[in-house]
Structures are given as C-alpha cells and as structure tokens.
C-alpha cells in the first residue's frame, strides 16, 4: 500500500489554545482526507525552538510542513532546505517570508483586519475621541502590518475626529500588557477607546479597564480569544471584538498542504483548490514575492453570540 501523506504542523507556542483549536482543524481535515500529521511548538515561542522542530520534521521525512512562524525571516533558511528535499511548505496565521514558503494562508485580508477594528472602535466611541493601540511586541510583523492598515484607515475623513494618541507594546505578556494599559489610563484621562490586535493584549486590557472601574467608559476592541474574553463580553467591558476561526484556519491549511503534496497545486497565483466544506480557495499574489489565500473574514464576537463560542476556542 502507498504510504499515507504525512504533514508536520508547527505553531508558535505549545499550550496556546488558539493553536490547539487550529490543530483541531487539521484533525477534521485528516479524518476527511486520511493523511497523518504531527504537531509541535516550542515552549517559549522562540524562533530557535521552531527551527529545532522543523529539523525534527525533516528528519521524520514529512511531506509538508505547515507553520505559523514566530519570526518570518528566521525560519527561511531551514525551510529552504526542507523545500530542497521536496517538502512543501505552507505558512498559516503568521507568514514566512516568500522565499521560505510555497504558499501562505492568511486568516483574513490584513487590510480588512485593520479596517474592521477601526470601524468597531469608531462605532463604539461614537466617532470621536482619543484612541490608543495596545500591540504585542514591536517586532511582530503581523501586528505591525495591521497597525499600518489601521493608520491608513484612520486617514479617512469620517475618522477626522478620532485621534490615535499612541501605540504601546505589551510584548504578549499579560502583566506587561496590563501595566501598559494602566499607563494609558493614567496618562490619557480623555482616552475613549483601545484597540488591541493581540489575544494576550486585549484580555489584559479588559482586566485593567475593569479593575479601574472604567468598563464602558473606555471602549475596547481587538482580536481576542472567545474563551478568554467570554466574561468581558458578557459584562460589556468589551462590546465587540474580532477573530477568525482557528479551526477553519487549520482546516484550510491542511487541505492546501495535501493538495500541494499530491501535486494538484504548486502554490502559484491563479491556482485554486478545494477546501472541504469551506469550498474553493483561490490563490493570488501576496505582493511580497509569494502567494497567499485567505480563510475568510474576521468574525465579530458580541455579547450576544459569545456563549456559543466560548467553549469552542
């Protein structure tokens, strides 16, 4: 019998529920397609840890590697050696630079991610006032891209009365993000809203706002995990936030990997592949020298729908 296809899944960090959910997407797909997969992530969300894991996967002769990279540039070399050995490389969630991948699966169009958060906060604060951004680390590519699009969006005339006062960084550490949020509260008494496009940051910001007794006075949105943010949506510290569905993300990445291993696609722009119950995905040019496809639009979580999602991921 022919050897089953084997996929190595690398994520940013072990024990992060977002990635646990993504692995569930791979699981679903593997039941439908009958491939094998192994998954692993470093304990400390380091680039070096991911390299170790990738080398381990090469050693185990996987057919494809699907990675959410901690450092877009830092894994390029090792992934190139993988590709030299005929291994297909798909990045998902957090991309790898074009020269180190065959295809990138974006959860959503970066521009949209930036836009919806600005729209959300504008709606919440009533279209005027000071806002701030609480980001992860100043070194995170996806964060910086989103913030860039947020700033572009804020240029539009309808946001004239909104002032982005500062961008601060919580390094994806809960206590540091909390401190930064507290600093924002103290330093900008007129602050109306905060966007935190990181799950750690938005949760810490919610705690800080609630602790300061400012729930509802400082509005909050961002990209948050339903399981982590459930209580804050319920008590309206956060009235609406976004995230894509990590299960779908894993699911699409799995389908793309299998299609590529089978030779159905090469990852070139213009190709398309069938992603199970999510339908056909078009591959297009990403503008960074590589190609990408997207999973869908960011999903809006609200106090109304959070109950059904909080135990999913």
């Amino acid at each position: 019998a022919e050897e089953p296809i084997k996929i190595g899944v690398v994520y940013k960090q072990t024990g992060n529920p977002f990635f646990e959910a993504a692995v569930r997407g791979f699981e679903e797909a593997s039941q439908e397609l009958g491939f094998e997969f192994i998954h692993n992530g470093p304990a400390d969300s380091s680039n070096e840890g991911q390299i170790q894991i990738i080398e381990g996967f090469i050693q185990q002769e996987v057919d494809a590697i699907a990675i959410s990279a901690n450092d877009a540039a830092g894994v390029v070399s090792v992934l190139q050696t993988a590709m030299d050995k005929g291994i297909k490389v798909i990045s998902w969630d957090s991309k790898v630079l074009a020269e180190g991948r065959n295809l990138n699966i974006d959860p959503s169009v970066a521009q949209n991610i930036g836009r919806v958060q600005v729209e959300e906060i504008a709606a919440q604060i009533g279209g005027e006032g000071q806002i701030a951004v609480l980001s992860a680390a100043a070194t995170h590519d996806n964060q910086n891209t989103w913030i860039k699009y947020m700033k572009e969006e804020l240029e539009k005339p309808e946001y004239d009365k909104i002032e982005l006062v500062t961008v601060v960084y919580g390094d994806d550490l809960t206590d540091k993000s909390y401190q930064e949020m507290q600093g924002l509260i103290n330093s900008y008494p007129d602050l109306k809203g905060v966007i935190s496009p990181t799950t750690v940051g938005v949760a810490a910001a919610a705690v800080a706002i609630k602790d300061a007794g400012l729930s509802g006075k400082i509005k909050l949105t961002g990209l948050g995990l339903p399981s982590e943010m459930a209580d804050f949506l319920a008590d309206r510290t956060c009235e609406g936030m976004y995230l894509w569905n990590p299960i779908d993300l894993g699911y699409v990445a799995a389908y793309a990997s299998v299609a590529m291993v089978k030779g159905e696609i090469t990852g070139a722009a213009g190709e398309s592949f069938e992603a199970g119950h999510l339908g056909v995905r078009e591959i297009s040019d990403a503008g960074d020298g590589g190609t990408f496809t997207i999973v869908g639009d960011p999903f809006r979580f609200t106090p109304e729908n959070i109950e059904e999602w909080k135990n999913v991921y």
Binding site: D44, E48, I51, E55, Q59, V78, T139
Partner: protein, 340 residues
C-alpha cells in the same frame, strides 16, 4: 563484595564515563523505538541543531564556571554581537562580510571584557548579579540598534553552506558546523588542560586566595576568562545566525541556561575548580541524542525540558549520594578495624 561496591561509585564519579554510558543507553533506547528515523547518520545531521551554537557558548561558559563564577549574559552577548554583524553588513550594502564578522567578534569580546571588569572591580557583587543586569543591558542595546527589524541577506555560503551544508566523510554526511566545532576542540583542550594558562585558570577556581598568594595574576585570569566567554558567545551567535539566516534582537533567548546546563552536565561545578572538555563534548552529545529522541517520540517541548531538568539534577545528585555513601563506609571500615 565490599570492594566491588566500593569501586563502583569511584568509577561513576568520573563524569565522563557516566555520560558515555548514558549516551549509549539513550542512543540504543531511541533507536529501538524509532529504527528508521533515529539512526546515526540522521542524528549526526541533527548535531547542528543541538550541538554547535550552544556548544560554543558552553565552551566559554566552562571557563567562567571553572573560576567558580557564572555569566548569564552570554545569550544577550551573542544577540548583541549578531546584531552588530547584521547591521554592519546591511545585506551587502555595508561593510564587507569579513569585516562585519570581525566587528561581531570584537563586540562579543567587549561585552565579555565589560563583564570581567565589573567582576574584578566590584568583588563584593556576585558575577551572577552583575551579568544579570548586563544581560538586560546588552539585549537592550541590541533592541535599540535593530528596533523591530531583522537584519539578514547574508552571503549564501554563510547562511546556506555553513548553516545547512555538510561534507561527506567516511560515507557520512557531516554538518560543516559540527566540523568547525570539532576543529576547535583539540586546540581548546590543549589550551585548557595542557598549558600553563589553562592550569592557572583551574588554580584560580580551586582557591582564588591561595592562587593570588602563589603569585598568579588572578584579576587578569578572571578578566581573560570573561572576555573569552564573550568571544565564544559571539562565535556561538555566529553559528546560530548562520542557521536562522537573519538576526532579531531576541535571537538566542534562554541560551545562557542551556550553556550552563551543558557545562554542568559535563562535569563543571558552579563552585569552581572543575570542568573538562571531554565531559562537555559528551554532555553535548548526550543532550543531542536525548532531545532529538524525545522530539521524535513525543513532539512536546515541555516534556523535553522536563527530561533535561531531571537529567541535570540526577547526574549531579547521584555521584554526590555515592560519595556520601563511600565516606560513611570508609568510616565504618575504620571503626571496624578499631573494634578488632
């Protein structure tokens, strides 16, 4: 019978033997579990992942540990040096690559020297405390230099051939990086174990006061050890960067603990005066064999760390227990003679 049990601990007290046995055990254990993936050639290929950069850092750390000191700023030193290299090379638009590398080594040396100066100037402070603050300082400087950027686009021979290339030797594909480490080891060994300055390092670590009274220039010895540690950290950073292909200020985070673990596993003691190159090499091999095997079997980073922690404690603890047992037995024997 008494003599057999009496000899066993003495045998196990040679760390090198204990490590060698563990290496073989680990290899055969995992090889039996994963006969197709966990093979010698494949393990050899993995050495570049687990052995080389940490190995160079451990070589530096060993010097400091032999002195009875510790340096936890090595990973930050490596990061700062790599940053300097990346920024000065600027993807080919800056300095020529050799100059960038030279600058990198000098940066490492300077960081080490600065640590060393602080250590000999402020003897009241523990090196651990000093290097704790220089750790933050060095990485902080790297952060100031690189900000949120990464620097890369290194020459292909560096990022590809050195980082991932291997040479065929006796029918095996040996990573070039590993060859670099192995090429350095004999010189390092000779220097540490066979020259006067190496000997003085051990002397200073065994008893600093007595060494000073014996005429050794203990301050200079310390300074040299810390400076060389900085240099080795930079070399470690050099090889690490050849694998990552680019530099961020976070590069090598946590490697200081790995370097300490390797050196301690290899027989160095944080109280000074002990350490061997052979032990260090064996410890590196053992960790490679173990980590890679665990990686294949479990694919779980935490289990990997847990096992390394257990190994570290057991390898240090077991000889201590044997030693205590041997001491007790010795006194008992004398007491028995007394009774006769």
């Amino acid at each position: 019978m008494a003599s057999v049990t009496g000899k066993l601990p003495a045998f196990l007290r040679r760390r090198e033997w204990l490590l060698a046995i563990l290496v073989l055990l680990t290899y055969f254990l995992f090889n039996a579990q994963r006969p197709d993936n966990y093979t010698f050639p494949k393990l050899l290929n993995q050495t570049r992942v687990y052995m080389v950069d940490v190995g160079f850092m451990a070589l530096g750390m060993l010097l400091v540990l032999i002195l009875g000191d510790i340096d936890i700023s090595v990973a930050a030193t490596a990061a700062l040096s790599a940053t300097v290299m990346g920024v000065s090379y600027r993807g080919g638009e800056g300095l020529p690559f050799w100059a960038a590398v030279l600058l990198m080594l000098l940066t490492g040396l300077a960081c080490g020297l600065f640590n060393g100066l602080l250590v000999i100037r402020f003897k009241e402070l523990f090196p651990m405390i000093i290097t704790l603050s220089t750790l933050t300082l060095y990485r902080g400087i790297a952060y100031i230099i690189l900000k949120d950027q990464s620097a890369g686009s290194f020459p292909a021979w560096y990022a590809k051939d050195l980082g991932y290339g291997s040479l065929p030797l006796m029918g095996l594909e040996v990573p070039i990086m590993l060859l670099c480490l192995l090429a350095v080891l004999p010189f390092y060994y000779l220097w540490l174990h066979r020259t006067a300055s190496g000997r003085r390092l051990f002397a200073a670590g065994t008893n600093l006061t007595a060494s000073r009274y014996s005429g050794l220039h203990t301050d200079r010895i310390k300074l040299t050890a810390f400076a060389m540690n900085g240099l080795f950290a930079a070399i470690g950073g050099f090889f690490l960067t050849s694998r990552t292909g680019s530099v961020k200020y976070t590069i090598g985070t946590g490697f200081e603990m790995q370097a300490i673990a390797v050196a301690v596993l290899g027989g160095a003691s944080t109280s000074g005066g002990r350490g061997s190159v052979a032990g260090l090499l064996l410890a590196l091999v053992l960790l490679t064999a173990l980590k890679n095997g665990l990686m294949l079997l479990y694919n779980d980073a935490f289990i990997l760390n847990l096992s390394v922690g257990l190994l570290l404690i057991l390898v240090v603890l077991i000889p201590n227990l044997f030693q205590a047992l041997a001491d007790r037995r010795r006194i008992l024997r004398q007491r028995m003679q007394l009774a006769k």
